[in-house]
């Protein structure tokens, strides 16, 4: 019975098959409504534990947003969903109005314009600082092209500029593995910049940094906002206070409160579940 039906479907002349339409792998990012990231009703469960529970969150274009929350609040899982590492059980995730993140693979998402900095600095330790930036550079990523790829003067200038921004110009030919912890963190931010992402996800950028390094990192992130949208996940409340305009508090996989740092800190629920613990 099934065959005649699918045969009828197949011969239906008004139907346009997927194979005929060219696959649109990464349509242009469209932020004309002023929002760059839409997460709606996202739920992720691991063995019955709900890491994200109908999480709904919007990030505006050009915004610097801090996300705080206790361990297990779902911060890292949220990042995993946005970057394609984890698929949610339900919900929708859109990058701008035109790109459905849930249908893209990790490299596709990276190429669409979402860059991620991990909690642990993960630079390529065997490569030099310069090579790390070269690898992260936006552009064609097809394997055969890379055999013949040479840096253009414009690309060199780009790398030089980023080296300057992250303050590693003198270390350009050092192996990344030989850098200090703080320098590695900056190099990683530099690699993010080379990707020219529209949205940067930064996971605990100042963990393990000295106060001076922390201050330098705050300046760096503040200088990025505006040109890029930046989402920072951080535990260090002093650091959050120094950079945040809007803060979102996650708790048990959903948004507990959102607003300026003062508003959030006054919120009795937040004091109870998060700030209260620290006091």
């Amino acid at each position: 019975m099934k065959l005649p039906k699918s045969l009828a479907e197949f011969t239906d002349r008004s139907r346009v098959f997927d194979v005929v339409n060219p696959a649109v792998r990464s349509p242009k990012l469209d932020t004309s409504h002023g929002t760059i990231l839409y997460l709606e009703d996202i739920t992720v469960s691991f063995d019955g534990f709900r890491a994200l529970n109908e999480l709904t969150l919007y990030i505006h274009a050009g915004e610097l947003r801090c996300i705080i929350g206790a361990n297990g609040a779902g911060k890292t899982t949220m990042m995993d969903v946005i970057t394609g590492k984890t698929r949610p059980d339900s919900g929708t995730a859109w990058f701008g109005q035109s790109i459905d993140l849930l249908r893209l693979s990790e490299p596709d998402i990276a190429q669409a314009g979402i860059g991620r900095k991990f909690q642990k600095p993960t630079v390529f330790e065997q490569h030099t600082v310069f090579e790390n930036l070269e690898l992260a550079m936006a552009g064609d990523r097809r394997a055969w092209k890379m055999l013949f790829a040479r840096l253009t003067p414009a690309q060199r200038a780009d790398i030089d500029e980023v080296l300057n921004v992250i303050g590693l110009t003198e270390h350009r030919h050092r192996q990344a593995g030989a850098l200090s912890h703080g320098q590695k963190q900056w190099l990683e931010i530099g690699m993010l910049l080379m990707q020219k992402p529209a949205l940067l996800l930064v996971d605990e950028p100042v963990a393990g940094m000295t106060p001076q390094e922390t201050e330098r990192t705050a300046e760096l992130l503040l200088s990025l906002a505006g040109r890029h949208s930046v989402v920072v996940v951080e535990h260090d409340m002093d650091f959050v206070r120094s950079i945040a305009r809007t803060v979102t508090v996650l708790h048990e996989g959903s948004v507990l409160a959102e607003g300026s740092i003062e508003q959030v800190q006054r919120d009795p629920r937040v004091v109870e579940v998060y700030l209260g613990e620290q006091a």
């Binding site: 970057t83 990790e106 490299p107 990276a110 190429q111 860059g115 991620r116 991990f118 993960t122 390529f124 330790e125 065997q126 490569h127 090579e131 070269e134 690898l135 992260a136 990523r141 097809r142 394997a143 055969w144 890379m146 055999l147 013949f148 790829a149 690699m191 990707q195």
Partner: protein
């Protein structure tokens, strides 16, 4: 910038490569000349047998380079690379079989002896075309390349990596070993392909042909080396090294890791195929034994002993271990496998960077 300056840049960047290519040139030119010009009584006269031995080592060295390319630079440990080596060898063997023509024992102008013996009436379809050298040469690249492509595509797409990849690559070569053992496959079964007479019309036993094969092996090794060196010094090379060091991170900056691994694996498989194709006319036989997983592991040991991730280290390892094997299997045959095992353990425990690692350490302490 032109080809020339790129090549010179490629070679200037590393002393080891330069030394290796110089030595290869001296051997590739010097040994045949010494064989031809010096009298047989001279101490410097290499016998034609020695020439054949060194030629065989050079094909092993090419196999070792192909393994180092994926293992040393991309962290893919294939324990089944002899599959590609043997397939290249079989493609060449099929050409050499067809060249025998009616000079076989049974005198059939078309069918190789083993087919007549099995009372086959006509040539299986996949033997057609192998009477032409260009077709066989093409198949030397295409067959291993295609197998590497299909196998690699399935493995890398499913993110099979590390020890799991090693195990299934070993299963692959073992499966081929069993398949080629069967007479019904049409590749001569247990006995394989042998009794070759001519290559391109030249008598395989003649000294001039042996010298020709030696020189071609040296050229193939040199070209294979330069090709690998070019790959690893390109941006592609930096990306595969990044994949080796942190695959997940490479994926997150937007590289399709599986494509990179796949193309590298295909190139490596083709190089191994060329090595096999040059090996067969020099040893005069190809049989299913070449698929043995033990051979594949031995080839990995060569690379480990020489030092991986340098290319020339793989050559050093291949030549030294095989020289030791030649010596041992004559002088003290039952000890060879123990010696090989001990060597592997010692290298793994004390010399993680192989022989090349020792040399580098010496140089650093000098300067």
């Amino acid at each position: 910038m032109g080809e020339h300056s790129m090549l010179s840049k490629l070679l200037r960047s590393e002393r080891g490569s330069l030394v290796f290519l110089a030595i290869l040139f001296v051997i590739g030119v010097g040994m045949p000349l010494a064989n031809l010009l010096l009298p047989a009584s001279s101490a410097l006269h290499p016998s034609t047998y020695t020439l054949g031995l060194v030629g065989k080592y050079m094909t092993y060295a090419l196999l070792a380079i192909s393994i180092d390319l994926i293992w040393g630079y991309c962290g893919i440990l294939s324990l089944g690379h002899t599959a590609f080596f043997a397939l290249g060898g079989y493609a060449m063997g099929m050409y050499l079989m067809r060249q025998i023509g009616s000079r076989g024992v049974y005198g059939d102008p078309i069918l190789p002896d083993f087919m007549v013996f099995l009372s086959w009436e006509k040539l299986p379809w996949y033997w057609h075309g192998f009477d032409m050298f260009w077709f066989a040469a093409l198949m030397v690249l295409v067959v291993p390349g295609a197998l590497a492509f299909v196998f690699g595509w399935l493995a890398f797409r499913s993110r099979v990596a590390g020890v799991y990849f090693s195990i299934i690559s070993q299963a692959l070569t073992y499966a081929l070993l069993l398949a080629f053992f069967r007479n019904e496959m049409g590749f001569g079964g247990n006995n394989g392909l042998t009794d070759f007479k001519e290559i391109l019309g030249y008598d395989l036993q003649a000294r001039s042909t042996r010298i020709g094969l030696f020189v071609v092996s040296a050229i193939a090794l040199g070209l294979g080396y330069v090709l690998c060196r070019w790959i690893v010094t390109s941006r592609f090379g930096r990306i595969i090294a990044a994949i080796r060091d942190s695959e997940g991170r490479t994926r997150f900056i937007g590289y399709r890791v599986e494509h990179y691994k796949l193309w590298l694996f295909v190139i490596s498989g083709m190089l191994a195929g060329v090595a096999g194709a040059l090996y067969v006319p020099q040893v005069g036989i190809i049989n299913p034994g070449e698929f043995a997983p033990l051979n594949a592991i031995e080839a990995v040991v060569w690379v480990a002993v020489g030092g991986r991730g340098t290319l020339y280290g793989a050559v050093v390892g291949a030549v030294l271990v095989n020289y030791a094997k030649t010596y041992f299997t004559v002088a003290w045959p039952e000890a060879w496998l123990y010696a090989l095992g001990t060597l592997f353990v010692v290298v793994t425990l004390f010399l993680p960077k192989g022989i090349v690692g020792i040399l580098q350490r010496f140089r650093r302490s000098e300067s």
